[in-house]
């Protein structure tokens, strides 16, 4: 499997890369089976960095062609139409909805929390509100999917063996999708 990771200065690129390498994937630049949009930090800065590299256009194009893209954490929030972070940031529009500030006693929401009976690691201050949600954690959107885009609020690359199994599933799904398109 060939995995390309959008490197636009986000801090967790290496962790994501290592997680996919552990699963036997090749990290590539060209002709990937799966593109990963990682992300931590601020939405405004991330969008500006994506635009500066023309990655925003390429991601929209890729999803438009039905090819798999995985967004992680901020990568999920950037895929929405809008984020209220940093005074309001327009997103990629791969998913309907917006990212809103978490309303909780303690923010960032930090630590392991349940998604479908398994604990994954979360670290976030904003959360997606989207009709494309496909899994929740404590009532918050943990996963969303539309077409060939899949976004997760948690960090599978930092969620131990549970996260590893999740990413293995994403790879399997991406490879199935590639075969069906071929």
């Amino acid at each position: 499997m060939r995995v390309a990771i959008c490197d636009y200065g986000a801090g967790n690129v290496r962790s994501v890369e290592l997680a996919f390498r552990r699963l036997g994937a090749d990290i590539v630049v060209r002709e990937p089976d799966l593109v990963v949009l990682p992300g931590v930090g601020s939405a405004r800065r991330a969008m500006a960095e994506l635009r500066a590299r023309d990655l925003d256009r390429k991601l929209v194009e890729r999803v438009g062609q039905g090819e798999p893209v995985l967004g992680i954490c901020l990568g999920l929030q950037l895929a929405l139409e809008w984020s209220e972070e940093d005074g309001g940031v327009r997103g990629l529009g791969l998913l309907p909805g917006r990212a809103v500030r978490l309303c909780a006693p303690r923010v960032p929401r930090m630590g392991w929390a349940d998604v479908d009976g398994q604990a994954y690691y979360f670290a976030h201050s904003y959360v997606a509100e989207t009709p494309a949600a496909s899994a929740w954690s404590d009532g918050l959107v943990a996963e969303a999917r539309l077409g060939s885009f899949l976004g997760v609020q948690f960090h599978p690359e930092k969620s131990g063996t549970v996260g590893e199994r999740y990413l293995a599933g994403v790879l399997a799904e991406a490879s199935g999708r590639c075969r069906s398109l071929a």
Partner: protein, 247 residues
């Protein structure tokens, strides 16, 4: 609410663990990467690495260590010691760390916390506070400051800290229990998660602290016997603490 977190702390210098290597059978895990892997397999929810020397010469060693840890361990970890600039912090995150901890440098220049939060996101910024008698100490506890721990915690939160790690110097190493008064006061002063540190000697100490804050640092209690983490988790479960199923 996320599940309570148990966070083993590894003190490192020159790329080696500097505590917990005295006892029989531990020599094999004196390498911080091996010890980190052991903790991860035993159910640690996160790890903290503190570079206790934190000299300039140490920097490359520390970055190398972070890279090796990230290669082996797929749980979140924080690195502290000698982070003085955004560049220092960014280098550690690029190497695979999830968060950096700042202490003396932030006391010297609180704007550093804001710069780190703006550049890396609040979730990557832990402000570590060492307190004695409720007052903040800097430079590994050797230097008295005029800050009350609660006031500095509040200030750090306002500057963009994503977590506060509060260590009671009075309780540290005593194994007589966490300083719950200090911990509760700090937790009450901020709206970010607080990690209690210093004094854990038993499962009931840990359970008490987890009533007050969502996360605890484990140091001395594990140093002589890293395998203690596994039994500690079982004891905590018996005490009704809900921990993640790490399998």
């Amino acid at each position: 609410m996320p599940l309570p977190r148990l966070i083993p702390c590894l003190d490192v210098a020159a790329g080696r663990v500097v505590k917990g290597v005295r006892f029989e059978g531990l020599r094999a895990v004196a390498d911080p990467v091996d010890l980190a892997a052991t903790y991860s397999e035993s159910g640690a929810d996160e790890l903290v690495f503190l570079d206790v020397k934190a000299t300039l010469e140490e920097r490359d060693t520390l970055v190398g260590l972070v890279r090796r840890v990230a290669d082996r361990v797929a749980i979140p970890f924080t690195v502290g010691g000698g982070v003085r600039t955004v560049q220092d912090a960014a280098e550690l995150l690029r190497a695979g760390a999830d968060k950096v901890a700042v202490n003396s440098a932030a006391l010297g220049r609180p704007a550093l916390v804001t710069e780190l939060a703006e550049e890396l996101g609040s979730q990557a910024v832990v402000v570590a506070i060492d307190a004695k008698g409720g007052r903040v100490r800097s430079r590994a506890g050797t230097f008295a400051t005029t800050w009350l721990a609660v006031d500095w915690a509040r200030e750090a939160g306002e500057h963009g800290a994503g977590e506060i790690l509060v260590t009671s110097i009075d309780a540290d190493g005593t194994r007589a229990g966490y300083d719950l008064e200090l911990t509760a006061a700090v937790a009450g002063a901020v709206t970010v998660p607080v990690i209690a540190s210093g004094g854990a000697g038993s499962a009931s100490h840990v359970a008490e602290a987890l009533e007050v804050v969502p996360a605890v640092l484990l140091a001395s209690i594990l140093h002589e016997d890293p395998a203690r983490l596994r039994s500690l988790r079982e004891e905590l479960r018996d005490l009704g603490v809900q921990l993640r199923d790490a399998a």
